[in-house]
């Protein structure tokens, strides 16, 4: 069971798990740790196979948060599950571009697009 305050809103939409970040800023260490635990539990404990991460609330994120997303991506791939990211605001998308992580992640503009054909 993941520990700490819930940092993701989870809902099921047509067989896809949509995990929406609650925080505007994904910066501080404890917060990132909690987010990581909750994300990993979706794959490791719940065995979810189709996951969309919705960033619409997120205004800031740090490289430590990117690290958790990368680990999540590895877990998803190992479990033969699928992961998409959506609703990333332009400044944050730029962070993905600068770090070339837009090449690793499947990123869609809207939640509808992310849900389509997953």
């Amino acid at each position: 069971m993941s520990t700490g305050q819930r940092r993701l809103d989870i809902e099921e939409v047509g067989g896809v798990t949509v995990a929406k970040f609650v925080d505007k800023k994904i910066l501080d260490e404890t917060n990132i740790q909690n987010i990581g635990n909750q994300l990993f539990a979706l794959v490791d404990e719940d065995g979810r196979k189709k996951i969309v991460l919705d960033f619409s609330a997120v205004e800031y994120l740090s490289s430590a948060a990117l690290g958790k997303l990368i680990t999540m991506d590895k877990k998803v791939k190992a479990a033969k599950a699928k992961l998409r990211l959506c609703c990333i605001r332009p400044e944050i998308y730029e962070v993905f571009e600068i770090t070339r992580l837009n090449k690793i992640f499947d990123i869609k503009s809207t939640q509808e697009e992310a849900l389509g054909g997953l």
């Binding site: 740090s62 400044e91 770090t99």
Partner: protein, 138 residues
């Protein structure tokens, strides 16, 4: 050039203290109407630099401190961050955008600082960094 703010503060090796400094500087830039993108970049760069100093430099050691010196002028922010660690060598930091490093979960902080700030300069030891941001035009 009018100076809007100048302070030096010594904080403990605690990321919450780092966040408070970051917030203080970002709020001041917002009140001086630096663009949203400028403030976003500064906040991100300060976060990365302060976490590096607190975690990697001082190793979260409560006996060690981080010194932050900040100067805000009309069109320029200059922040110097110094930790009490042994430093590092820039050439030892792998390029996080190289194909073989893309999936490594760490090592993107310095690159993000360089991308979003006008100038990022470490001293030879690697325990002090100067970050500068020139206000964007338009």
């Amino acid at each position: 050039m009018p100076v809007h703010e100048q302070f030096e503060i010594v904080i403990p090796s605690d990321t919450d203290a780092g966040q408070a400094v970051q917030e203080r500087i970002a709020s001041r830039l917002e009140s001086l109407e630096f663009s949203m993108r400028d403030v976003f970049g500064v906040r991100l760069a300060l976060e990365e630099a302060l976490v590096n100093a607190i975690k990697h430099g001082n190793g979260l050691d409560p006996a060690k401190f981080v010194r932050v010196n900040c100067l805000i002028e009309d069109d320029l922010l200059r922040v110097e961050i110094e930790d009490q660690g042994t430093g590092f060598h820039m050439e030892d930091v792998p390029d996080p955008t190289a194909d073989e490093n893309l999936e490594r979960p760490c090592g993107r902080g310095i690159m993000l600082m360089r991308s979003f700030m006008t100038r990022v300069e470490y001293n030879a030891t690697g325990n002090r960094v100067v970050l500068e941001k020139q206000r964007s035009g338009g």
